[in-house]
Amino acid sequence: MPEGDMAGVAQGAGNNSSDFVSNGVFCSSIRDIFVALGCMCIWLTCCAPGTRMLEDPAYSEVVRWGDQGDSFVVLENEKFTKTILPKHFKHSNFASFVRQLNKYDFHKVRHNEENGQSPYGASAWEFKHPEFRADRKDNLDNIRRKAPAPRKAQNAEEQFSVQNQQVVVLSETLAATQQQVQQLQESYYEIINANKIFVDEILHLQKVVKAQHQVHNELITHLTFNPGQNLLSDGTEAPLELRRARDILNGLSIEHVADRDLNRMSIAFHQAGGSPESVGSSSMMGPPGAAGVTPFLHDPLSDMRHLVYPVGQNIGIDPFAPEHMNNIPYNRPGGENGLPPTSDFNTTPSMAANTPPGLQSPSPWGSKKPVVLLVEDDRTCARIGSKFLSQQDCGVEVARDGLEAVNKVSARQQPYDLIFMDIVMPQLDGVSATAMIKDMQPNTPIIAMTSNINQQDLEMYFQWGMRDVLAKPFTKEGMIGKLRRHLNSLLRNPPAEGMMDPSAYPNGGSAQPPTPGPYSNQGMGMAPLPGSSSGPVTKFDTTPIQSPATSSSWHSPSQLPHPSPTIGQEHGGYLGAGSGAQMVLTPGGTQKPQFAGGMMPQMAGSQRMPLDGPPEKRQRLYGPPGNYNQ
């Protein structure tokens, strides 16, 4: 008799079992209902057998109805999990069973009263559902899985609005950041301006000091050696005061080490700022064109190179459109190259212009790419040199001889950042070209590029204002080393001073660096100026000694491959149109270049021709035997 069994079990298992629990007919009818309803939902598959289990005598020690008939109790958690769950549920661990129950709105009954002790034992789990009663089978229909859908939809909506909010917040942050960047840029440019003014001012003062120095020297020389003034009738011995004055003057080291840095800064400012000449380009230098302050042309905000982010507008780009993400035409912070990946935006032509395509390595330069003039008559050397330089992301221009170089420099608005100058060239040699360029662009470093690198040659190069020497045949490393060394200030990551390439001077360091000192003393026939140095500073003291002996010098007609039509024809192939006018070094003492065809009037009109220098220097170029190109 099933009914009797059921009742007996229920009673035996339970304590004071209720009558409906023991009602076999009732119980079987539950079963029938469940059969009839079928598996209408997951709950049914889960719990419908459960209701049957609750009355299964085999499980009465494990799971049964609660005492009130409105709950069911899992008495032995472990057994339930091991024996019952695997048979009836797909969730065969107790926790997921409990979770499923929760989803059908069953809740664990907590027994807070009575010391938290469950009447069914400490380890028993009692679950309740308002509709789950032993006497209300019809209510089973109402036990349903709680609908998760609406709740989830609500979540999505919430998330959506949260995302919207995030976008808004991000946009605001971005705008704020942009504003900050803009402010920083503005103050950066203010500082740059101030700095530029300072540097110009310092350079100007230096020039004034140099001019005064020169004046003093001239005066002393005059007083010492001019007997016609009756100040010193014998002319052999200068009075003590004059000698002292000269000593003091000579003791002054005019060219300070920092000058080169100052010059470099000045160059950098002018190149970045577009102000062609400095404030102080006055007494000594007498540059062609405008002297005096040029208004600061630089508009930081219109200069795309310096913009980290565009400010105020998004230049036609929706920052949130994914297809634009890789096409943003401005520098993104941390970008290796600092260059736009594409240049198909009309807004940034200036950026694309300086960028040779196909660079292998990131540019070593900061915001400003240097422009280098390579003066070389040998087109093989010129092509290789230009390739080396352009691989370093430099702008390169090539001049085929000294004359073309001078023309290029005088025609150019902004000075070149650096000039590599071959020495032996047709039309105009590199040393003469250097002297002329120094007059126009005193700050541009000029590096001699030659195989003639014995001591005398080097001294002459430095004497005429060259900064350094690159021995030929040059290597890539050698050339790039010079480039970085002299354009230090343009580098993205400038090296510390003193870490300079020790191989900068050829002949294993036997050559003298272009520091103040030795050159101005060499071969001076009169009053040496030990304290002064090479470069423009010493021009005033290189009083020419025009002896007949100089007729055998470097450019004397007997040796010079006269600037003949032959040469002109030979190199006509790659000389510029302006080279038709011949620049000739006249024989004899003065060695002033003659400007045919009225070229470079500003130079021809200059009182101080740089070639008025000591002819001995030039004579020495191929002078003493045995030191030829060690």
Partner: protein
Amino acid sequence: MASKDQTDDGHDRNMPDLGDAIDILTFSQILEMDDSEEDRKFSQSIVYDFFEQAGETFEKMDVALQARDLDELYRLGHFLKGSSATVGLTKVKDSCEKIQRYGKRENVDGSPEPDEELCLSRIKTTLKTVKSEYADAEKTLKDFFNSA
């Protein structure tokens, strides 16, 4: 005399063996500028350009020798010395340096040589030598580029 700052290490890794006529270190610098080892357009154009330049210079040297123009020979020697050194033709470079010296009325050691006849005859000999050295190097390089 001749500058020996070029080490003649002809067995660099990955580098072709071009014999002793060509300084491989210098030459490999030019090869490095190519886009790839397959695409030797740049180095080839440099080298072929140099061939042209060298040919022209030799012709001018012949003319200058005919005209006994030592100054021009000096200048041409200097010129070709530079470009041959840049490409790595060590022997050609050394010979050009000799021509440069003779043209300057000097001996190989740099001491003055007032005898212009001697200088001219030395140049004549050296010019012959340098042309054959150059021919060797040109063949080597052309073979290199044709096989590449």
